[in-house]
């Protein structure tokens, strides 16, 4: 047994005193738990442009990659693809198996397009632009009609968003940014958004009427029939006389709220909104007159029509929460008395297209459905392509043009039960 020496006692006392002092100093740091909170979120922030830059930046540029494709339009073997808020890609699609990019028309705040008689109509913020595209290598801006649209890039595509500061210029786009707020203790509950409104940034031209007009998809806000361009913004149906290269607004009609799409068929316009489908008579094309309203559950909805039936997809999303996801078939033989005759459950239906009873429904991230709608009250699924993302479709002459987050895909649907993939123009991040 070792003897305990005085040195050992002193050492142990010193050690204990040291640790006691150490503990005391730590205790003086406090016995209150410290909490630091950080709130992170992404929000949309406006991208501004000066008025001069906004006007002067319109013009033809070299072809670029697809980044955020929006609405598509097919005209004379050319695909016109909207790059949301940026402009229009021009693609030579004379061989759908090998589409070739021709160029890019830079149009700030552009979302919608339509083409007739070698004139391309495009929106740019609240203005309507007209391009002469006889020479697609060198499209020429021939007319700007200012302040005709009330749907502008001032409205954020999503929620939450940073409010617009008009003193900074014209809003031409929105970008998603990550925001952080750090605070000691509990973060205060701040709302970066006062209110939000949604702008339908997606959509393709619906059309096909007017012999020299092109063909669009079901999500469009522009439609050409005869010598008239019809456009919808959130609440209005606007009518433009385009019999000359200088379009003239001839009519403006308050339709309702949350108007989203337009589809012309024979002598009628079918206007889709979040709560209803409106049918207008355009036998007097300069002054559309409302014939009826078919109301449905609140949902985001495009519409196409063939024969005596309208096909409407209803979709639930952030803009239309608590909605349903389904395809509805409406009998419109009597446009004054439209009524539902069938509905079919879907997953996440977006745009749709129909050609001679063959119905194509975009299911968003869940792919594409090919349906036999020759008997609208007994629609049968022929094929389901799952591994693609789809937003809208244009079926035309056995070529199905599909737009989605992956890019533009094209299929041969001459054998309707087995689509053959022709080409993909990919999106490049």
């Amino acid at each position: 047994m070792r003897a305990i020496t005085s040195k050992m006692l002193r050492d142990s006392r010193l050690t204990s005193m040291f640790f006691f002092a150490f503990l005391l100093s730590l205790a003086l740091m406090g016995c209150e738990d410290q909490k630091m909170q950080t709130v992170k979120w992404t929000e949309y922030e406006p991208v501004y442009m000066s008025e001069q830059e906004f006007t002067n930046s319109v013009g033809m540029e070299t072809a670029r990659e697809l980044n955020k494709p929006g609405k598509i339009y097919f005209y004379n073997d050319y695909l016109f693809v909207n790059e949301v808020n940026k402009g229009v890609h021009i693609i030579d699609n004379s061989d759908p198996a090998s589409p070739a990019k021709v160029g890019f028309i830079n149009i700030p705040a552009n979302k919608d397009i339509a083409v007739k008689d070698n004139l391309l109509y495009a929106d740019s913020n609240s203005d309507l632009l007209v391009f002469d595209i006889k020479d697609l290598q060198n499209p020429e801006l021939v007319k700007r009609v200012e302040n005709v649209f009330s749907f502008t890039a001032n409205r954020s595509p999503g929620y939450p968003y940073k409010p617009v500061d008009q003193s900074k210029g014209i809003v031409v786009d929105w970008e998603e940014v990550e925001v952080e707020e750090v605070c000691q203790g509990d973060c205060s509950y701040t709302h970066p958004v006062v209110d939000g409104m949604w702008l339908n940034t997606v959509g393709a031209e619906t059309g096909g009427s007017g012999g020299s007009a092109g063909v669009g998809g079901s999500m469009a806000r522009f439609a050409i029939t005869g010598d008239y361009l019809y456009a919808v913004d959130d609440i209005n149906l606007l009518t433009f006389d385009i019999s000359s290269p200088e379009p003239t607004k001839v009519n403006k009609k308050d339709v309702g709220w949350a108007i989203e799409t337009i589809f012309p068929y024979e002598n009628n316009l079918y206007v889709g909104s979040q709560s209803a489908m409106y049918i207008f008579d355009i036998s007097n094309p300069a002054t559309p007159s409302q014939m009826s309203v078919y109301t449905h559950l609140t949902a985001c909805d495009p519409v196409v029509v063939e024969g005596q039936h309208a096909f409407v997809t209803l979709r639930e999303n952030e803009r239309c929460p608590r909605a349903v996801n389904r395809l509805e078939v409406i009998d419109v033989e009597d446009p004054f008395n439209p009524h539902k005759v069938a509905f079919y459950e879907m997953i996440s239906p977006h745009g749709l297209g129909i050609d001679d009873g063959n119905l194509f429904v975009s299911e968003g991230e869940y792919g594409l459905k090919v349906l036999d709608a020759s008997e609208p009250q007994d629609i049968k699924q022929l094929q389901y392509i799952k591994d693609i993302q789809t937003y809208d479709v244009i079926p035309f002459n056995d070529v199905l043009m599909v737009t989605g987050n992956n890019g533009i895909m094209q299929y041969d649907y001459s054998n309707i039960e087995k689509l053959r993939h022709l080409s993909t123009i990919p999106v490049v991040e």
Binding site: R2, C31, D33, Q34, K40, T42
Partner: protein, 188 residues
């Protein structure tokens, strides 16, 4: 998200696994390696607004007459909304002597693994953090192979978790637990 019953079960399981191991080691130690010992400790951690409790086991080795070291694992019930499982290195400085009450100083340093126990609080991710726990105490010897001790100290433990908020907001919370520590333990 692990239910609380499983968290408690995990801790009990850890203790039940370790205790027989250390007991058998103790048996071995009696014959082969008398410098090893086992420690079981119960702690109370009072804070400014709440009090937590914990338990830990340590496998201790005596290196010299005045220094012991070991590896330990424990469980601290903060329920805020996380509980922590500290895994640590223990260093103990023991005053030499043969008396019945021997002072010592102890330091635990390690890392605490987090467990989400409060199902009422939705958490996307969580993570533990560093543990630092100095203390001083008195070790009481007895005639049997068991010794007990009491100690007082300070405990710092970190943890972090993320919670979904409305829209796409994520709330990240970084907590540093700063508590006094009072413990009683058994050495055998």
């Amino acid at each position: 998200m692990i239910p609380m019953s499983r968290n408690i079960g995990f801790s009990v399981w850890a203790l039940l696994v370790l205790l027989p191991l250390v007991s058998s080691a103790q048996q071995k130690n009696k014959v082969e390696n008398p410098s090893y010992a086992n420690q079981v400790e119960f702690t109370v951690l009072p804070g400014a607004n709440t009090t937590s409790v914990g338990i830990q086991v340590v496998r201790v080795r005596r290196f010299t007459d005045w220094f012991c070291g070991g590896l330990g694992i424990g469980f601290t019930h903060y329920n805020d909304p996380l509980d922590l499982v500290p895994i640590f290195v223990n260093a103990k400085f023991v005053a030499p002597g043969t008396g019945g009450a021997i002072p010592f100083a102890s330091l635990d340093i390690g890392y605490s693994v987090s467990i989400h126990v409060n199902d009422d609080v939705e958490i996307d991710e969580h993570r533990g953090g560093v543990l630092i726990s100095p203390s001083v105490g008195v070790l009481f010897k007895s005639n049997s192979d068991f010794k007990y001790y009491v100690k007082a100290g300070y405990n710092i433990n970190k943890a972090r978790y993320e919670q979904p908020q409305w829209g796409n907001r994520i709330l990240e919370t970084n907590i540093t637990y700063k508590r006094l520590l009072f413990g009683v333990g058994l050495l055998f």
